[in-house]
Amino acid sequence: MQLYLPIADLPVNVFLVLAMGAAVGFVSGMFGIGGGFLMTPLLIFIGITPAVAVASVASHIAASSFSGALAYWRRRAIDPALASVLLCGGVTGTALGVWTFTQLRALGQLDLMIALSYVVLLGTVGSLMFSEGLRALMRTRRGAVPPRRTHNWIHGLPLKMRFKRSKIYLSVIPIVIVGIMIGFIGAIMGIGGGFILVPIMIYLLRVPTSTVIGTSMVLTLVTMLFATLLHAVTNHLVDAVLALILMVGGVTGAQFGARAGQKIRGEQLRLLLGLLILSVGVRFAIELVIRPDDLFTIRELGVSG
């Protein structure tokens, strides 16, 4: 069944997009991530312009993180104080990100920056996660105990605050900075940022695993809702029809993914996720290096007069 996407200006097969949403939803449910870093590239590969893909995926991630956040809220696995501090940074970062997005688009360098960010970010995070997963796997095989966590320099910063539910005592400075960073890259790259945020919160901020995923989902939810709104107001690039199909496929797929994820061990999950992230980064790198089919592109600046 063909459907015409009003903003992307492209006819697509509804079942193809629905299947893509479900597949990404499955993966995201399995690893407990938003899946934006898979969804945005997939949309770009089927011919949707990077700008529309980034803007539309934001609302798709908002939907999947809301259903996730509701489940974590019922289990009291969200730290409201930590979430609000993160959000202060997140909202600022999103606004900055959308502004940068608009500027880059006017300069004609948006597609390049999106591709470059994917290569750098996914390449780094993917290899880190992959090597960490590999090391953890070796350790469990040898039967060694994981190294004990120690405090680091971050815990020496001023403006400390007590986060009751997470049972941590931490400076707000690194939390706000992390929020700004995630909001910024989320708005530019069309990702929720959960796959970066969760490791940062665990390894750098020492947030306990009981509250980390729920709290990061709240940040993802609010920044992505805000990004949707800003992209709609400034660039008019959010394709609601596309977003709705993705959401329906995504939330359904996520349920089955979550069940599948419980059957796999943590280290293996991290290894797989690292490999997945790395391969998306490599795919973008190849696109940048090979000669494009056409060196010229046209962009309409809108009907005049």
Binding site: Q2, L3, Y4, L5, P6, I7, D9, P11, S59, H60, A62, A63, S64, S65, F66, S67, G68, L70, A71, G108, Q109, D111, L112, L116, M224, L225, T228, L229, L230, H231, A232, V233, T234, H236, V238, A240, V241, A243, L244, M247, V248, V251, A254, Q255, L288, V289, R291, P292, D294, L295, F296, T297, I298, R299, E300, L301, G302, V303, S304, G305
Partner: protein, 256 residues
């Protein structure tokens, strides 16, 4: 001096000739409605060349050039170059108020209809249509083989939005003619101007104009219009839709 005199003479000649023939044209539909499942259609332009008493009796064959121009828009053409091993947009040209749809039809090749000089002045052929560029502060059209201009025309032609067909106009009788105007699925909405230029023995002898309108209807168009005109409301509705979908999912798939 002689050139000016020649020009005046030419204008006088053209002026008198233009009055000698009358062009009567009509399009099959003045308002084309594009629905969501529209996959392109063809509009038909009919017309006839009416001879008047003052027409020279020896004039027997006519040539026609039909130009269809969609709503005008500003566009940017960018070129990628290899920098530090990766392909980056480096150079660009801005095309000002160029037609978003442009089609040129004739009954035989443009070269056979008229001289290159008249073809240029009457903008016959994609190479001769005026496409204003902004080149470092100046506004001008450039030579037809300019890389940006030819890339622009090539890309628009690939999308079916620019076309040139020197055999699309058919004369049913020596004076009665018809031509099809193909409109692909992604035609821009707006008012389209149609210009019909009449030639005989290589000389331009008159023209007439008509127009049609393309409107899109349906849910998709409603979404696109709202997104452009009421960005805030559109964004709020999309955000609300995301929350609704997420909430529904959490109810449907609730485990306990």
């Amino acid at each position: 001096m002689t050139r000016a005199a020649l020009a005046i003479l030419l204008v006088l000649l053209l002026g008198s000739a233009a009055r000698a023939e009358r062009l009567i044209v009509s399009v099959s539909n003045h308002r084309v409605t594009v629905t969501p499942n529209y996959s392109g259609e063809e509009l038909v332009l009919f017309g006839s060349v009416e001879k008047e008493a003052s027409s020279p009796a020896d004039r027997k064959t006519y040539d026609l050039v039909v130009t269809v121009m969609g709503p005008r828009a500003d566009m940017v053409t960018r070129r990628k170059e290899r920098t530090f091993g990766i392909w980056i947009n480096t150079d660009y040209r801005q095309f000002l108020e160029v037609p978003s749809y442009l089609a040129l039809f004739a009954n035989r090749s443009f070269e056979a209809i008229t001289s290159p000089e008249i073809a240029r002045r009457q903008q016959i052929g994609l190479n001769n249509v005026l496409l204003t560029q902004r080149v470092s502060g100046d506004y001008a059209d450039v030579v037809p083989n300019d890389v940006f201009r030819s890339a622009f025309i090539r890309l628009r032609t690939q999308r079916g939005l620019y076309r040139e067909d020197p055999s699309a106009v058919t004369f049913l009788t020596p004076t009665l003619f018809r031509t099809g105007i193909p409109l692909p699925a992604e035609v821009p909405i707006g008012t389209y101007e149609v210009e019909i230029k009449l030639f005989s023995d290589g000389a331009f002898i008159g023209k007439t104009e008509t127009a049609f309108e393309i409107v899109k209807v349906g849910f998709e168009q409603f979404v696109a219009t709202t997104a452009r005109q009421n960005g805030l409301i559109y964004g709020l509705v999309t955000a609300a839709m995301a929350l609704m979908t997420g909430w529904m999912a959490s109810i449907v798939f609730r485990k306990d």
